[in-house]
């Protein structure tokens, strides 16, 4: 008798307890909570890729991929240094993300379908549109890939570059001579020894390869891009808040550039009369709260790392050794295809 009266109470208490736990935002905000507790974002980066992620002698990381991580840290903590960089090689990068060792992977990884549908990941956007291009001697006087007919092109065996190359030349009825080598190193040497006229690889790679040539400036990279290698940050599926946070951090960088909001003038931005700017920097509306952030989250990002254009120029563009023109990575209003949905 006694038992029977008590049991329903206990039952109810238990139900309420679990429902309370289940209903709290904690359930779908695991990553952000973990990051806050830890006091740093764990960010998977490359082992050393000039312009994208590299570490200097004093242990300081620089690069476009690195700055994306710093932007996420700035959005959360207002401090771009609250990042722990975890260098990962090609084989461990996705497992490190799946296992929770890192919170975000920002390591020149191509967004492809199978990586989303079979690895349980999601790409949050495109930080850098890469793709296959061509490097050749300036003296050749060629300024478009359509003039490459009959040239000898160095490429590596068994890569997609080789297939794309054959496709492109075939489609444009240009005769192609291929010299296939086993490594990028060998390809570059063959090109230097003039065994081939043209070197092909992803454009970001070609700009790095060019720096290794004796007189970099006597070589050019053509503007054409003949394949798609969209590089972007990736997160685990299942944590919507985190996915949105990383996604809108990237978009806020792009939107800031489009609106002319940059690190040097960020403190004037809140006084702008332009509603798009006011919403971005948090002087109008409540856009950060739902991400679990402060009102001025995007202003913090821009103050710490600059807008997308600043990050680009500093790491891979005109202010860097690589000097990669904006090309596809220019804003949609400037001849490129970088486009971010609006903050409103």
């Amino acid at each position: 008798m006694f038992d029977c009266t008590r049991r329903p109470f206990a039952l109810l208490a238990g139900i309420l307890l679990v429902l309370f736990v289940a209903d709290s935002p904690e359930v779908h905000a695991q990553t952000l909570n973990a990051v806050r507790e830890r006091g740093a974002v764990n960010c998977g980066v490359g082992l050393g890729l000039l312009g994208f992620s590299s570490q200097d002698d004093s242990g300081h990381w620089t690069g476009l991929d690195v700055d994306i991580c710093r932007a996420v840290a700035a959005a959360i903590f207002g401090d771009p240094d609250k990042v722990t960089f975890v260098p990962l090689d090609v084989s461990t990068r996705f497992t490190a993300l799946q296992s929770g060792k890192i919170d975000v992977l920002s390591r020149n990884s191509t967004w492809t379908m199978s990586r989303e549908t079979s690895l349980g990941l999601m790409f949050t956007g495109i930080a850098y549109y890469d793709g296959q291009g061509f490097l050749l001697r300036r003296e050749a006087g060629i300024d478009t890939a359509l003039q490459l007919g009959g040239k000898t092109v160095c490429t590596q065996t068994g890569t997609t570059s080789e297939l794309n190359l054959a496709d492109y030349f075939g489609a444009h009825a240009m005769p192609l001579n291929v010299l296939t080598l086993s490594t990028a190193e060998e390809s570059r040497r063959a090109y230097e020894e003039r065994k081939c006229d043209v070197l092909t690889s992803d454009v970001s790679q070609l700009y790095a390869e060019r720096l290794k040539l004796a007189v970099p400036d006597s070589h050019i990279i053509l503007p054409e891009i003949i394949s798609k290698e969209p590089l972007g940050p990736a997160v685990r599926q299942g944590d919507d808040q985190w996915f949105n946070l990383v996604k809108w951090t990237l978009y806020s960088l792009i939107n800031a550039e489009e609106l002319g909001v940059k690190s040097a003038t960020i403190d004037d931005a809140p006084r702008s009369t332009n509603p798009d700017i006011r919403r971005l920097v948090g002087s109008e509306g409540e856009f950060g709260q739902q991400l679990g952030l402060e009102k001025d989250w995007a202003a913090r990002v821009v103050r710490s790392v600059g807008n997308y254009g600043e990050i680009y120029e500093r790491n891979v563009g005109t202010q860097s050794y690589l000097s990669i023109p904006r090309g596809l990575n220019a804003l949609w209003t400037q001849g490129g295809i970088q486009y971010a949905p609006p903050v409103r």
Binding site: R7, F9, G14, L19
Partner: protein, 345 residues
């Protein structure tokens, strides 16, 4: 005490089950594909009537760009475009109806914006149509850039973002204008048609539809300049990543198909292609469809029944439609536009 503890244990166990059910079913719905399959149709929220995007005829047959996207999703799942059921929704109720699971997907000329994602717990998987504000004016004015509109009388609908964008654009470019405000879109058109203003501003897709209402449509043109961002996208609920993947990759498959030259007319030929990119799209290589929870030939079904992105565009809003909106930004990235899909591989 023991009995209380025992009760608590049982209570907890039951509660965990209830809560788990609540999480997966009530609040955090992750079974959209399963329910769609069981139901045998995709429930798709569309506009009640918007020429080119979603429009029912007298017999209740729907046509339009947004409508065809739903048919594409239905084709991917059921190999049958008629398994899309259209639910006409008002602008005010559309997001609520999606949240309340009255529809599986919203394909209703909705702009992807930040607050809609993070405040409404929704996702806009990818941009289906890049829209934005433009200008219509009489051909006879011989103007081909919005920067030549200095000093114009501009017809605009009052109290809209359109009016705000207009002010921003003119101010940024150091130009002046006289605003002619009207409450209803129809009045804006009437005023413009009667020559009360030099130009009319609205979203470009709207301008092409409004042009058809003018007494002499062909005497008017729409400038190439786009001064704002209105990326239109399908919408799904958050917390169901599997369903979002299906919607996202359906759109990407259509864009990739156009880029690879695969159309509804040559799809049988495409199945015999030896090009790796085409083979992955049509499922003669890899298991991309299975990984989505669909079949190997998921993309073939889409292209066969609905067509690739360009075919859908041309038929509904482009060259083969009444609207005749140039591809502009919606052209592929390698043919002058910004439409770009990550690769299937």
């Amino acid at each position: 005490m023991r009995t209380f503890r025992g009760g608590l244990t049982i209570g907890l166990a039951v509660a965990v089950l209830v809560a788990a059910a609540a999480i997966t079913y009530e609040r955090y719905d992750t079974k959209t594909l399963k329910r769609t399959m069981r139901r045998g149709e995709v429930l798709c929220g569309v506009n009640k009537g918007l020429p080119g995007f979603s429009n029912p005829d007298d017999k209740g047959n729907w046509t339009g760009f947004d409508v065809d996207f739903c048919r594409a999703v239905a084709s991917a799942i059921f190999d049958d475009p008629s398994k899309a059921k259209f639910v006409p929704l008002d602008a005010s109720e559309r997001f609520k109806e999606l949240q309340n699971r009255k529809v599986d997907i919203l394909s209703r000329n909705s702009t992807w914006s930040m607050s809609r994602e993070v405040n409404y717990d929704l996702y806009f998987p990818a941009v289906a149509y890049y829209d934005g504000q433009g200008f219509m004016l009489p051909r006879a004015r011989k103007i081909d850039s919005a920067l030549d509109l200095n000093g114009s009388k501009v017809c605009v609908q009052a109290d809209t973002t359109t009016a705000l964008n207009l002010a921003d654009y003119f101010r940024t470019n150091n130009m002046t204008y006289t605003e002619m405000k009207f409450g209803k879109p129809d009045d804006v058109v009437k005023a413009y048609d009667s020559g009360q203003c030099d130009t009319l501003t609205s979203d470009a897709s709207q301008l092409y539809a409004l042009r058809l209402k003018l007494s002499k449509p062909n005497d008017h043109m729409i400038l190439a300049d786009i001064i704002s961002k209105e990326p239109l996208a399908p919408v799904v609920r958050q917390r169901d990543d599997d369903w979002m993947m299906i919607v996202k990759w359906t759109l990407y498959a259509m864009i990739n198909a156009e880029e690879l030259g695969v159309t509804s007319k040559n799809i049988d030929e495409a199945l015999k292609s030896k090009k790796p990119e085409v083979m992955r799209l049509v499922g003669t290589e890899g298991s991309y469809g299975e990984d989505l929870g669909l079949t190997k030939d998921w993309a073939v079904r889409i292209i066969k029944h609905v067509g690739n992105y360009g075919e859908v565009y041309d038929r509904n809003v482009g060259a083969d439609s009444k609207l005749k909106i140039p591809r502009g930004m919606n052209q592929l990235w390698n043919a002058g536009g910004v439409q770009y899909a990550p690769p299937i591989r």
